[in-house]
């Protein structure tokens, strides 16, 4: 018996035939996706830069000594590979130190958004009925709020409120506030996707089968439904990370960012007036934002292709 046909279960298992579960299958497909891989490389690059920023940066990012030597707005040179900006900062160092900030914003905001979104969407889809109706109306309410304006207002109000209190001493409080608000207002798309997936999966036959063999509800939800809903959610989250980074850049560009944090948007804010005199400062920060957001979007795109075609038989 050399070949194993579909109807013959008695043949030996063909070892070359084994490919494992959903994630490794997704990886197989993802690897063949050129744009997805490019996204992964870009995101990986940003991560590496963020992790090794203290080693990579040629100068202290808070070092403004160039200004004292009348060397602010200086073009790229050996000591300042990307030049200096109008405040006398080394552009390269500021861009490199901007990476951890950007990732903190993107990942932090999506962590908050995913937690809220998956919880509410999951409850909505699984429980259904009145709870579903209520939660979805709340979701729609959050969806129609112009987030950007709300964030600007809240950041400013919060910044004033904490003045003179003990909270003021928390490092990067302003940035954390932005992250939190982006998360709190960014969950509706995730909630809707989670609801749709829970609705689909709670009626799925394997979930029904699991119920029939006496699997309790907790394990139905966390072991059977949630992991199957994850591929769709991961795509949204990856997309959301890029979105949150872009949003923070916009907030900082308008001068509402955290003055103590090093952010690409802030660099644009500091330097846009001198675009003609020292374009390198703006171009470097803009390119960093572009690469990061593009990376996450391409990654999300690749993940969609890799994870969402329903598993082959």
């Amino acid at each position: 018996m050399t070949t194993r046909t579909a109807s013959d279960p008695t043949g030996p298992v063909d070892q070359g035939f084994r490919k494992h579960g959903m994630w490794s299958q997704g990886w197989q497909r993802f690897r063949r996706n050129k744009t997805g891989m490019l996204g992964l490389v870009l995101v990986g690059f940003i991560f590496l830069v963020a992790v090794f920023s203290p080693l990579l940066a040629p100068h202290d990012p808070f070092d403004q000594s160039a200004m004292l030597q009348f060397r602010s707005k200086a073009p790229p040179s050996w000591s300042h590979p990307l030049g200096t900006d109008r405040m006398g900062y080394d552009v390269a160092s500021r861009v490199i130190y901007g990476a951890p900030t950007a990732l903190f914003v993107g990942l932090g905001a999506m962590l908050v958004a995913a937690t809220i979104g998956i919880t509410l969407g999951g409850i909505s889809g699984y429980v259904g009925g009145v709870a579903d109706e209520l939660l979805m109306r709340i979701t729609e309410f959050f969806l129609v709020i112009p987030i950007f304006i709300v964030v600007l207002v809240m950041v400013r109000i919060f910044g004033i409120l904490v003045l003179g209190t003990a909270l003021e001493k928390i490092p990067y409080l302003n940035l954390t506030t932005i992250v939190f608000i982006l998360g709190v207002f960014g969950w509706p798309p995730i909630a809707r996707m989670a609801r749709a997936e829970f609705l689909r999966l709670k009626e799925a036959e394997f979930v029904e089968a699991a119920r029939c063999i006496g699997v309790e509800r907790k394990s139905i939800i966390f072991r059977h439904i949630l992991p199957n809903a994850f591929p769709s959610l991961v795509v949204l989250i990856a997309l959301g990370i890029g979105g949150a980074i872009l949003m923070e850049a916009m907030i900082s560009f308008l001068g509402f960012g955290d003055p103590k944090a090093i952010s690409w948007g802030q660099a644009l804010y500091f330097n846009y007036e001198f675009l003609k005199i020292s374009p390198w400062a703006s171009i470097a920060a803009g390119t960093a934002i572009f690469i990061t957001v593009l990376g996450f979007n391409l990654l999300a795109d690749g993940l969609t292709d890799a994870l969402n075609p329903r598993l082959k038989e």
């Binding site: 109807s7 029904e208 119920r211 394990s219 992991p227």
Partner: protein, 338 residues
């Protein structure tokens, strides 16, 4: 191992079960007063068209009727305990352990993201409180039993790596893991190739006899029950038309619906053409809307031998011969019954 059984040696006794679905367009009386019993080791075939309530009545045994359905009255006595009175927590201990289910579509009844071993082990660890290692050994043993070669490496495979027939074998193994007293098989062969159907049925019967399990086989295929069931219940529109031993049903069907159902079976020894004389037999009309079922006998609008009173009087089951009950006015009126 013979499970403890009370009430006249019966393992399962369903009494006057009614299941209604409260939908937007009205109350759907999906199951409307059915009663049947099952002895340990016996196989009961439940036959009927789609929408006759056969699947719902078997899901009711596990108390897993999809919303908005509800058991509104009736009793389900299983091993002398009323399942309708149990709490959800108590039911979890019954599902899979005492009553197991095999599904219609093996392709979708296994979770795509877990290996076979993980899915089989889950049940054992949960119900029998054994270690993962012991669970895997037992799972391998059962895979062997259902005719899967090289079970240990199969345990590491994922559902999409198996063929349909093999998946159904895995589902059968999963149902048998905890030695249930009763197995519910909902159209277990409908979605399989014809060649595999017979294999799976033979396997089910063999295992059933080996472990002395009772089985309820829900199907629309008279051919399937003919070779497997001891007794047959024929359902139509949420009610039982006829119940009798398998041989009796095939040899001496009394209810017009049963007769019609048997006539619709294609025969090998007859050729069929498109012209009116030699066409496949169909039962005229459609299964009624269960929100507003026909008055009287539910089959009367499609019945070839309906009488006038059929549209007003709801026939009660009548015992026409030892253990052969028919719900038809022809037998309860001036008929054979005395």
């Amino acid at each position: 191992m013979v499970p403890a059984a009370g009430n006249n040696g019966r393992l399962l006794e369903v009494k006057d079960l009614r299941i209604h679905f409260y939908t937007g367009s009205g109350i759907v009386k999906a199951v409307d007063g059915i009663s049947y019993g099952l002895k340990p080791g016996q196989t009961l075939g439940v036959v009927g068209e789609s929408g006759s309530g056969k699947t719902i009545s078997s899901l009711a045994l596990l108390r897993l009727i999809p919303r908005p359905g509800k058991i509104i009255s009736g009793k389900i006595l299983f091993e002398d305990e009323d399942l309708t009175a149990k709490t959800e927590t108590e039911m979890i201990a019954v599902r899979g352990k005492k009553i197991a289910m095999i599904f219609q579509n093996p392709a979708y009844s296994l979770n795509p993201i877990y290996s076979i071993g993980a899915q089989l082990g889950e049940i054992l660890v949960w119900h029998e409180k054994v270690s993962q290692k012991a669970a895997q050994e037992r799972a391998a043993e059962l895979l062997q039993l259902v005719g899967i070669a090289d079970p240990v490496s199969r345990l590491r495979q994922f559902p999409h790596e198996l063929s349909g027939g093999m998946k159904q074998r895995v589902c059968i193994a999963r149902a048998l893991l905890c030695n249930p007293a009763l197995v519910l098989a909902d159209e277990p062969t409908t979605n399989l190739d014809v060649t595999i159907q017979a294999q799976i049925l033979d396997l089910l019967m063999e295992l059933k006899n080996r472990f002395h399990m009772a089985m309820i086989l829900v199907t629309h295929d008279m051919g399937v029950v003919a070779r497997t069931a001891d007794r047959i219940v024929v359902m139509y529109a949420g009610r039982i038309c006829e119940e009798a031993n398998t041989k009796v049903i095939f040899r001496d069907p009394r209810h017009p619906y049963t007769k019609a159902l048997l006539e619709t079976m294609p025969r090998v020894d007859q050729s069929y053409t498109a012209d009116s004389r030699n066409r496949l037999v169909v039962i005229p009309g459609r299964i009624p809307n269960l929100v507003d079922p026909p008055t009287g006998c539910r089959f009367h609008p499609r019945c070839a031998v309906a009488m006038e009173e059929c549209s007003t009087i709801l026939p009660e089951p009548v015992d026409v011969a030892g253990g052969h009950t028919v719900s038809c006015l022809k037998y309860s009126g001036g008929g054979t019954a005395s």
